[in-house]
């Protein structure tokens, strides 16, 4: 075998191995086009089915959309009509609002004036209350003084009663002594001279004419009603008995002085007056009289 033949054998072998390797590599790594074709065909069929479904759904949606569009158009027309009506109502409401705002402004002014007036009246009331408190304090003070004066008056009246009793007793003793003296001096034809008092006689205070008239009337009656809340009382005497407005009656219970009643109103059946100088609580049935 020649050398050339040997070389050719080796080259043939190497080239065969090389080419076969290339072919095997290519065939081994080649894609399976049949499988690819089947897969793509299936995908294509599925896509066609989906396209059909999508077209069907599209048609249905178109129909539905047309119906909805029609309904929406109807609603839009109705809403437009409603909007026009509401706008007209809005105009009316705005006019009413303007009128109400004007009225609110008016009432605000009135309320402001009312508040100012109220504040002024409150201030005036406060001042009046202060003055009333002062007057009440003065009234309490005056009532206290009046009670003290009434107590002193009652005490002095009691003293006067005692003195009158003593005076009466002394006059009786004087008369008795005068009669005894006359009896003693009568046999001698003498008469007792008129005694002269050591203490000069003083002018006594005389009551006023009205009071004297009242004392002269000397009326007596009963309390028929008492209203302590308003310090009012009514008596059983009336104008028929000679009672007149301004007359003062003394209310007594037994020998106790209760209060005075200053007559303010007289009718044909009874007389009504204010209760004054209250020493005890007057009751219906207490005696009233012009003189103690």
């Amino acid at each position: 075998m020649s050398t050339l033949t040997k070389i050719l054998i080796v080259l043939l072998t190497l080239s065969s191995i090389f080419l076969c390797g290339i072919v095997v590599t290519y065939v081994g790594s080649a894609d399976d086009f049949k499988q690819k074709n089947t897969s793509l065909t299936n995908k294509f069929n599925a896509a066609e089915e989906n396209a059909k479904k999508a077209n069907k759904a599209l048609e249905e949606n178109k129909t539905l959309i047309q119906q909805q569009k029609k309904e929406i158009d109807d609603q839009i027309a109705a809403l437009k009509a409603s909007s026009e009506e509401l706008q007209s109502k809005l105009g009316n409401v705005e006019r009413e609002k303007s009128a109400l705002l004007a009225e609110v402004e008016k009432w605000t002014t009135i309320t402001r004036d009312f508040y100012q007036t109220t504040e002024k009246q409150g201030q005036l009331l406060k001042d009046t209350l202060d003055e009333l408190n002062k007057l009440q304090a003065e009234q309490v003070k005056t009532q206290k003084e009046l009670k003290e004066t009434t107590a002193s008056l009652m005490e002095k009246m009691a003293i006067i009663d005692t003195l009158e009793t003593d005076k009466k007793r002394l006059v009786e003793q004087k008369t008795e002594l005068q009669s005894k003296l006359d009896q003693l001096l009568q046999p001698g034809g003498k008469a007792a001279a008129e005694g002269t008092a050591v203490t000069p006689k003083k002018d006594t205070a005389q009551p006023t004419a009205g009071a004297g008239v009242v004392r002269e009337i000397n009326l007596k009656g009963k309390l028929t009603a008492v209203d302590l809340k308003n310090s009012m009382a009514s008596i059983s005497l009336s104008s028929a008995d000679g009672v007149k407005e301004g007359m003062k009656f003394y209310v007594t219970r037994g020998s106790e002085f209760i209060c005075d009643v200053l007559i303010s109103d007289v009718s044909g059946k009874e007389a009504v007056g204010f209760i004054e100088l209250v020493q005890q609580q007057p009751k219906v049935g207490d005696t009233v009289s012009t003189n103690l």
Partner: protein, 51 residues
Amino acid sequence: MSPNGQPKAAAAATSNLYTVILALAFAVVLVTVVFVAYKCYFQYELIFRMP
């Protein structure tokens, strides 16, 4: 018989190495052909034809 009238001697390989190499090349080509045929048959169900 040779042209000279002498009997021709039987051909004998001078070396078995090149025979082995040739056998190897043949085997490689054969295996490649079988592999390609297998792939064609199982992928396209055809052998050496266009589908």
